[in-house]
Symmetry: D2
Subunit: 288 residues, 4 copies
């Protein structure tokens, strides 16, 4: 994680069979790939094998741009493996969608600026102008793209244009408060991270703090998840909770929730950047 | 809490008005009631005043059996107060309903036996015979009252008969797994405590661990609540959670959940015994 | 809490005696002070009474600048009460001391800017120049006051000069990493808030994450406390923890700890601003 | 974990080198050992490789009693591996040491009786007679072995005699409250599990709840660890915490702590029974 050497990360899943782990590690080993991290897991109920392996590229015999091809031919076919490969020297590019609340925005920009994350953030998109001064303060381009029921399709097209032009890899919704269309979402599968201000699946939908107060729960939460066509039902990446009591008004739930939201969202972004997430059957495997 | 002196506990709620707190404390003070505990709270949104006050009876000028009458006449009427009074020297009587799982049963009996709780447990009722040997081991009468769709009404009548005969104050459902009829429930308002094996309102209903696994949540929970006619929707008393991951099978959720369930249920019973719970609008106020 | 009306807050402690609560509430009541919040507690072991009461000033019969005098004369003397009074319309002024790490600084400035806190932050002091650009970005004056073993006394004198000139009410050490002299500390009793990056009293002193890793604990924490002459031993205001495992390197403890540190420090500052903290015998009473 | 098939568990550590993982998995694979679980981890700072692997014995080509020998010859020597092997069909035998408090005892016996754990508990040893009735109720032999400063050595000898005679594999101290001699401890390395009623290393030694109250912490904890010659300093297995406040008296800390203690101790015993713990440099690796 703190190694400065260039590494490759391989994320794998396939039907569980004897010998997969041995084959993969042998493949890396024989080609002088020094494994610096390996985490694997078998879902017994569904009989699926999952693995994340990271190795140093320095002495690796196979050139970077041929690894996928070789792995496909020599290993993946045999075991019916589906995989993705990522390289530590390719910095992901992230777009940030926000609305009026600043806590998630600040938390993300502060981490970015402090070098906590290896990521580029070339643009911020918002349907309100409120947070533009913050974007400017951090020297990030801010696009004001207001939406209403009649212009949603064209505004989303404008957004997709910008995202494409800027070569954006993934999107973070920092309390964006707008529902993205299925069409938009389908262009970024498992590449849009949202924060929902409740412990999903409890209190999906609007005004979860009001609903939590009404129900009289003793704990509230926040949930970060990949966005899918089905609102608030995408694969959960991270959750956290905080105790409350009858003393808490809705305002104090909102206050306590803000801290949860920003930390849980940033945790999800961090895992995504670390390539530690694999999605299967609308659930996430979060490697160690 | 650990005082051996006899005390009275007054639980109050009423529309919030100036002067209530001063009046109540003055009433106790003037009559030589030494207040050893006071917790009050105002729900600003609904403008309701809640209070729990406990005082020593030793030097209190008003005889125990006349306190309710005096308080009603001198204070409650003026402020439109609804109240209950409880006395520390009256040991509550609890019935325990169980099914086949023993973890909640053991946890409760162990606390009872160790003197953690001031309570009598004269009977255990079950729709299965499995836990009878444990009841016998602890010297508590065990009633086997099996239920099916056709005999539910008469079996519940038998249960109510036993509960009445044994002068039971409140009922604890220690993973009882049977739905009680509205008729039964209505006879014990805010006096039946259940443990639901999820973080309500998430995963109400049957098989919550399966549902939690299916949804891929990262945290599971347990919820103790008073039973109302609306299943799994009664006032929540206590909740707790534990982190899980993709590594956990349904079996390991069940295992981890058991520990939550027994602790959360016992916490609710303890609060109930301490007279620290006031129910209002299907929510609980849990005093400190 | 969210009322826009002007209020006064009274923080009290005294030897526990019968009648205090009735006397105080009656005093406010008789003078038309509408109590909007009251929390009290008795330390049975030491027989000390603690209370925080907040009331609206609008119709209160006693003028703001005479409340302390009247309360002293009419109530405090009788019960040997020690008290402080604060007014919601007097905005506290805070100084921020930082070093090289930006996470606490950003968290505090973001809250300030978003209006989460009612506070003025006229200056930031640091022994390094690293965070100056951030201060400038937020439009706050930044004073670079480097310290070494030979100039500490004079540099602290310079700091005290600035703090006095700027009418600073309290100081927040956002990972300042310098030990303040007893002389300095004694001028701001219970008015300097520090964040220590461990679950105190475990791992007091330098390099707590290294120590935690060495000891092999399964949970790490952060502790905010008022600074006293005795390093890392002042009254604890807030603590929080996060689970770790053998998988975590020191670097990942540092990463996880940062999130704890900023949240726990900000929680402490919030409580301080809300006047919800009373210090007694090197411990804090944190009112609800 | 829930497989009924017979399995072997191999726990390994060695200097980190390229190829270990491939070699071990290949060894199992070639001999028809179906791997059902594998977790490995490298301590980068110390360059040590750790692994736990579990595989089915049914079709495994090497007979059970020769596995250790073969593994030593074919693999372990090459990589300087230290290892232990355990078999799922060999039920561990546990001795329970208790004193006067029953909460840990009940929790353990309840789990044992409910079949949560695969373990035999042939005897309970105590320096007091208080819990004898509970042992009898569960049909377990109870040995009353009182100790004082003058008879400690001979009483411990008696205990060791019993433990040897009963073929005890490991010992659980369920709030035993006696310090075992170095001589005793050295006979059961990493095979005595203790529960300390604090969040170690905070409040090691006697009366931790008093110390926690005195220090004014906002969170208390419990710690299970293997016992070493150095009191309260052995490798930590599990820890958990609960929030407290100034409202909590020492008595309520004790009450809340009891629940932590029993759950944390039982968690440690469970991990031990699952062979999920490896001790290295006075720290534990707890496999998933």
């Amino acid at each position: 994680m703190t190694s400065d050497k260039k590494t490759a990360v391989l994320l794998i899943h396939c039907p569980d069979q004897q010998g997969i782990l041995a084959s993969v590690t042998q493949f890396l080993n024989e080609n002088n790939g020094n494994i610096i991290y390996l985490d694997q897991n078998v879902d017994r109920a569904e009989s699926i094998f999952f693995m994340r392996v990271e190795w140093e590229l320095e002495l690796f015999a196979i050139p970077k741009d041929k690894i996928a091809d070789y792995f496909e031919t020599l290993i993946a076919r045999r075991y019916n493996i589906r995989f993705t490969i990522h390289f530590s020297d390719e910095k992901p590019r992230m777009a940030l969608f926000v609305s009026k609340m600043s806590h998630c925005l600040f938390d993300i920009l502060a981490r970015h600026m402090a070098g906590e994350w290896i990521v580029d953030i070339p643009l911020i998109i918002s349907n309100h102008n409120d947070l533009k001064p913050i974007a400017e303060r951090f020297g990030i381009e801010f696009y004001y793209i207001p939406k209403n029921s009649s212009n949603k399709e064209e505004q989303e097209a404008k957004e997709v244009g910008l995202l494409t032009e800027m070569k954006i890899d993934f999107i973070v919704l920092g309390r964006y408060m707008q529902v993205l269309s299925d069409k938009f979402v389908s262009q970024f599968p498992n590449r849009i991270i949202n924060i929902h201000h409740s412990f999903l699946p409890a209190f999906a939908g609007a005004k979860p703090y009001h609903a939590a107060h009404e129900r009289g729960v003793k704990i509230i939460g926040a949930t970060s998840h990949y966005v899918t066509a089905d609102l608030d039902a995408g694969p959960i990446i991270a959750q956290d909770v905080v105790r409350i009591s009858h003393v808490d008004s809705i305002e104090s739930l909102v206050r306590k929730g803000r801290d949860l939201e920003k930390i849980v969202l940033s945790e999800a972004v961090y895992k995504h950047l670390q390539r530690k997430i694999l999605v299967f059957n609308n659930r996430t495997i979060i490697f160690n």
